[in-house]
Symmetry: C2
Subunit: 571 residues, 2 copies
């Protein structure tokens, strides 16, 4: 492609409304253009990137055996009412009425439509398993659309849905092949990502992984092992019991006056003890009316309510105890609580099991104990996992230690089980002729979001840095003085023709602009390979070649540059 036949429109400064690096750079590089809040036009340069992502997604979905179809953007309310999501979904579902006043919505996902198709098309176990996908425009009426295409209202998503005769098939023929396809997709895109065990959120069902692209600006925090594939959302990563013996008690239990000390920070400051020596008490409601459960964890650790909610005897959903009940059962208020004298169930976090001589609330306002020891000063509690992991914790799979990183969710695989197939009665006859409800999985990839996530992960002060696979063009030829220097023009045209003939995706920047503009644009646009052609080097038979991350270009003989670039593109 020659720039004169294309459309390049770059900006020196990003518009003020953009805060995120990817949003700024996408606007500056002219990849997108805002139409309204959360609505964007993909400009020619951006669309090339989007299509490359889309094609890789399509190739790997096809390879995995998923079959492509295309469901409509506008969907009838009836199907959403049947699944219950018409009421449940909330305001993110953009509802609309047609000219006859019938209700429709713009699809944010397509569980209902595909399940409706499948219940009509598939009626025997012989037709299962089946996996369908489409790549289609979706709409979510975000309350605060922001960060450009990262959190837009209209976006392109690849969503796949698999249908199975039983759970084993869901895992073996649906979930696992999709998980593997996702890994191939993000590998091919050249992204640094982690498949992360995730909670299943509002979409329902059990068993899911998020695919997170690691980037400073990510909204999610994930924990991953430095020595294995383990990764999980920080709230879901388990901690392990400590090994070894408990430290021996060294001090006697002593009640100290701690006036106005209500927090761990105040306690540490007042008594001048290490925070790791303190225990904090959290009191939640038990399953029985009026029953309280005491949860203990180290003062420096973060309480994890998802884990607490799953403990035997603890009310679900988790409910903090009322001040009245606490006062009645502990004889003190929050800030001075502890296990000594408490009659109810006590759980303590694994991290506290081997310690001794703790500082803890004395169940008397303005008093704490020092030298508290489990077993000696109160009954042994049950030791469980109660906290968020921290960097350096051992990885739950026993391999290496955990690191924390922020991530951008770009894909999600879900075991929906029978949530939708039951609501819409998607059944089949098994090999005994008996009607059974199908098992179902769903698998999404945010195609437009991937573009932004890749930029978040790969950019510098000069602009975007694309991998070869995602770049709008793999190679840019920057001729100095294309219009006026015949030698430059001839060399540029020849290299362009050679690279294009060999199948490289090459841009010849023949715009009549100053050299500085062309060079800056090539860096802002993030083209991975650049060939600069100028009269001076040309006289010695050379051109300049640089990869986008290089600090200095290298001099390459004119008659070797094509082969060199083609070789580099193969890597």
């Amino acid at each position: 492609m020659k720039a004169s036949q294309f459309f390049i429109s770059t900006l020196k400064e990003a518009p003020a409304e953009a805060s995120l690096a990817s949003h700024k750079l996408m606007l500056r590089a002219g990849l997108i253009k805002g139409v309204a809040s959360g609505l964007y036009t993909w400009m020619p340069m951006g669309l090339r990137v989007l299509r490359k992502v889309e094609n890789i997604v399509r190739e790997e979905m096809n390879r995995s055996g998923s079959v492509e179809l295309l469901m409509p953007v506008v969907q009838p309310a009836e199907l959403w009412q049947e699944s219950g999501r018409w009421e449940f979904y909330g305001k993110e579902l953009l509802r609309l009425k047609d000219r006859k006043d019938a209700d429709f919505c713009m699809g944010p996902t397509c569980e209902e439509v595909i399940t409706d198709i499948v219940r009509k098309e598939i009626n025997s176990y012989k037709q299962l398993p089946k996996n369908f996908y489409h790549i289609q425009t979706k709409f979510r009426d975000e309350i605060r659309p922001r960060f450009g295409v990262m959190r837009a209202r209209e976006f392109v998503m690849k969503d796949a849905y698999s249908f199975h005769a039983d759970y084993e098939s869901l895992v073996r023929d649906g979930y696992q092949p999709m998980y593997d396809a996702y890994c191939r997709i993000f590998d091919r895109l050249g992204l640094n990502y982690r498949p992360v065990a995730a909670d299943t959120g509002s979409i329902g069902g059990t068993g899911s992984h998020e695919f997170q692209v690691l980037a400073e600006s990510g909204e999610d925090v994930i924990a991953y092992s430095d020595a294995s594939d383990f990764a999980a959302n920080v709230e879901l990563a388990p901690t392990l019991p400590l090994s070894g013996e408990r430290a021996p008690a060294g001090k006697a239990l002593e009640k100290v006056h701690t006036p106005d000390v209500k927090t761990i920070a105040a306690l540490v400051a007042f008594l001048n003890v290490p925070v790791e020596q303190t225990l904090k008490s959290i009191v939640v409601e038990g399953e029985e009316e009026g029953e309280l459960v005491l949860l203990l964890l180290r003062g420096d650790h973060e309480f994890n309510d998802i884990k607490a909610e799953k403990l035997a005897g603890v009310k679900s959903p988790l409910a903090m105890a009322s001040p009245e009940l606490i006062r009645a059962q502990f004889g003190a208020d929050g800030g001075s609580l502890g296990p000594v004298g408490f009659k109810g169930k006590v759980y303590a976090d694994f991290a506290t099991e081997k310690g001794a001589d703790w500082v803890i609330g004395a169940n008397e306002n303005d008093y704490h104990y020092t030298g508290f020891n489990f077993g000696r000063d109160a009954a042994e509690p049950e030791f469980v996992d109660l906290r968020n992991v921290v960097e350096g914790d051992p990885s739950p799979d026993g391999k290496g230690r955990l690191k924390l990183a922020r991530g951008i969710e770009v894909g999600h695989v879900f075991q929906l089980r029978d949530k939708y197939s039951k609501a819409l009665n998607a059944s089949f006859l098994d090999n005994n002729g008996k009607a059974q409800i199908m098992e179902m999985g769903c698998y999404g990839i945010g195609v437009t979001r991937i573009v932004a996530a890749a930029i978040e992960q790969n950019n510098d002060e000069r602009g975007i840095i694309w991998t070869d696979a995602m770049a709008p063009f793999e190679v840019v030829i920057v001729p100095m003085n294309y219009k006026k220097s015949e030698a430059v023009r001839e060399a540029a045209d020849r290299i362009y023709a050679e690279l294009a003939a060999a199948g490289a995706d090459v841009l010849l920047d023949d715009r009549d602009e100053r050299a500085g503009v062309l060079l800056n644009d090539s860096e802002l646009l993030g083209i991975p390979h650049r060939i600069v052609i100028g009269d001076r080097a040309l006289k010695e038979g050379n051109v300049e070649y640089a990869r986008r991350r290089d600090n200095e270009p290298q001099s390459v003989a004119l008659n070797e540059i094509t082969a060199k670039v083609l070789e580099a593109l193969k890597v």
Copy 2:
């Protein structure tokens, strides 16, 4: 692709709601599936066809120099208010409100969005001309969605928009290249079509062609030459003055009593004269208040109001005269009118100029004249074009004679001129530094509709007949007894592998179905090339090969079939 890894779902009978051949066949062949009125899922088999059409459109648009981008489906009301279409468009524009109660619509076309982009991006004549296109889901809230994807509410359209410094550039750099690209597209798709000079309708501007696929079921009637490229909507095709001398008057003017004769049909029956010998009178309002104009044309010809409206002295828009005014100025009522004694302007159709001895109203109720002659019995009228062309009329370009046919509009090229660029103030600085409004063209192709139109044009009692270019698969291999006969399976697998390796788009129908089902499906699906493999022929080293239109298959040696099919695909 093997059928077992794909999804084939055919029906013996089409659902009752389908009336059009293409709608029935698309449902029976499982190309589409209804989701709601005018909303369809493109099933895997149909999507393959859609993508092939899309790719040919994209390739030819790129070749023509148009640059692809992607505008959003949902568009803000503000832009539509600026162009005036928010009020003007009517109920086909699906309006909606977001969660903040802001107004949006689902785009039926994108003149506003692209003009908004261009007015922000382009400000110098040096950046012109420019042509952008996208292939995107559109929505029109049709009052009566019908005929499947032929007139659906949600559909895929390719729309392009070109911007120019002046009208000459619009024609030279926009309109003509698009016209040519459209011809290449429809040629490659293998459609029998005509580019037809068209009225510009509600979208505004002047100068347009429709691309009509010829098919019995088409909603438009077009006139085309049997000896040249001339084609026009029947209402817009001009008629020519007759050559030669007028026939001499042979009869005297005679007033005859024609009681209760109010129509040409009644007149012809009552007097037993050929209809070609009669003249009908149409009275319309003139430009001046109270003025009437008389229009005369042959009794068997169809009046054309578009042509009449353009005549000097005729009120525009055309208004039929009131009975009161007619009675006052003619002294008679409609059904008995004529030029004798009428004082106002008289136009007569070209086809009446050379005739003599006409039968015509006598301006006295229940009376007509026979033996009426222009010049002798009334002043010579002005002879003009007043009627629709009929089959056999000379072609307006002087080459051959006209034929009439019905057509399905699948493309449209428009010279919008400054309709949108003026409303949205899309201006540029010319080479004198003066601000000018851009000239603009728009160019649409109904991508989903093409699929239906192609089927309307190419089907038989057995099913669809695809061209190689549009077929979901170019070749189908139908093995008889694939599961049980090792010889058949081996031959089928080998031919499949050979054809696929050579780049052919081949389907191996390995479904465990009876031979009759597989053969019928291959014809219903319209795959252009079919290879049938059975044990009996195989023993003699042969397979059967047939093109979809063939009545009888031919026997081909097993070791020659691959080469034969590949050769056929090149044609």
